[in-house]
Symmetry: C2
Subunit: 339 residues, 2 copies
Amino acid sequence: MKIVIDGFGGDNAPDEVLKGTALAVKDLGIEVAVTGDIETLKQRMEALGISDNGIELVAAQGVITTEDNPRSILKANAGTSMGVALNMLSRGEVDAFISAGSTAAIVLGGTMIEKRIKGVKRTALVPLMPADGGVKYAVIDGGANLDCRPEMLLQFAILGSCFMETTMGIKNPRVGLLNIGTEEEKGRELEHETKKLLEKAPINFVGYVEAREAPLGAVDVLVTDGFTGNVFLKACEGMGVLMKNSMKSIFFANLKTKLGALLVKKNLKGVLKHLDYKEIGGSPLLGTAKPVFKAHGSSDAKAFFGAFCQAKSFVENNAIEKMTKAIASIVPEEAAEDE
Amino acid sequence: MKIVIDGFGGDNAPDEVLKGTALAVKDLGIEVAVTGDIETLKQRMEALGISDNGIELVAAQGVITTEDNPRSILKANAGTSMGVALNMLSRGEVDAFISAGSTAAIVLGGTMIEKRIKGVKRTALVPLMPADGGVKYAVIDGGANLDCRPEMLLQFAILGSCFMETTMGIKNPRVGLLNIGTEEEKGRELEHETKKLLEKAPINFVGYVEAREAPLGAVDVLVTDGFTGNVFLKACEGMGVLMKNSMKSIFFANLKTKLGALLVKKNLKGVLKHLDYKEIGGSPLLGTAKPVFKAHGSSDAKAFFGAFCQAKSFVENNAIEKMTKAIASIVPEEAAEDE
């Protein structure tokens, strides 16, 4: 298996990309192509003591930034580290793609350079969020599609369920529809119409779920439109930061509390690690015909390694094939042709 | 000043209602009317050692529950502890109303039994949320109006701003519009159209704000539609519970961490108290022509006392009068007549 990674995507590129790559080559037994300025990559590998065993360096020029128009990934920025990597995936030279670069460019490039799975109306970025008890759940859509129709949410539910089952190893994932209550009459027309579709879908649909219950482990896949999904994710993120700041204010209050901090340090670290989105690895872009993963912009070597693990598991378990079959089962052949 | 409280609303009624009432009478120098079964109230007051000084008991029969149709507060359940209290407010016998009972019944009763402020299209329940640094911010709408038009959000922004200024003592409150990014093009049509109105409104509008920034103290008033607002609130609540559970798992891991817990206990308690929605007191129902406060269902005496503090401050600072003027300044006389 060979995975391509955007060598210059993310705040800590290329060093952390290279360190994560070295870990992946060693521990996962995969080959990795790294795109970017070859001289710089070679120098950094030497400085970091990383051998070129299992690593192919692929020439690319410059980086697409978050300030660039994401559409420029198609032409003007096609030769950047991200553009070259996406085109390698598109030509079938690699099995999966990872980048910590501009989210908008990954979503646009992943959708335009790659094809979508037959019948899929929209692609969606699917972040994994920490829940109580050390588990994780997927939020789909995390922000790509602000105005969604029920049929789109149905597809998201199926894609998210396939992902959690194939890649995250969760049997029969519980799929919930985000709503402001669990009673029949709660919610907007979008929720009411989507619920009817999800009840008939080939998934383990557990009904409406309130935003409060998702971080407490009620679902494996949380389905909602991209606007609500993004608000949900960022509210969770903000509360996470608030809590971390609060803990700091508790532990650094005085000498006594600092001693207390020393005693719980190890356990605290483990819990914070679970709650840290950086540790989670990549968010897949689901709906594309080939595996596209977005790593967090502030990813370090460990986070990149996590993204490699996900991508490998995704490929090994034929996630795309299973998604294609599941989508075909709900989309009549004619309708799919229209797309 | 006289405030009426629903004696049997909430999980801990009537004992915690009565204890909170006794505190309010003593510390705030107000009179309180408590509605409900008089015999029971008298017995509980005697058992709790609460004198009837400053407390009027007002006869009512039964309680409206969350299972009851909220509309029944208007007729079938008009004689319950909540119905009697609302009607006292409506007749002008008291200056403000507090209940920890069914939210839906309070919103419906507060809107139907009371009149709305002239020109106000919809009422909204406005929870106060904990933010970094020990401060609080208001979320409007918290869940009453799922589909909102820009004009409604404009009114919510003005009502919320007036509330934070008059009742919570925040000068020139920062009003932000919840969105999935701060760039011009981010968001749905609702956000784009609302932004135009807020820019011209008599408030301190700080522009779009991401869900992540609100718990970190970026705004005093967070404006959004009721669906998104409710998802936001409940996501924050769920993350709060997740964090509390995580802290428990840290501190109760072993003997060493338990000792650590002892050392930070006092500081931990203070922080948790700030983060606990129960401590915040009441959520006002804004837009009604008289003060209506919803206390959390699980309120204890302290939380009820907090609601009394808010209601008193609201009345003393002529919040309704100021809201009426502010709404009139944006609603032409003719438009107001149509309502």
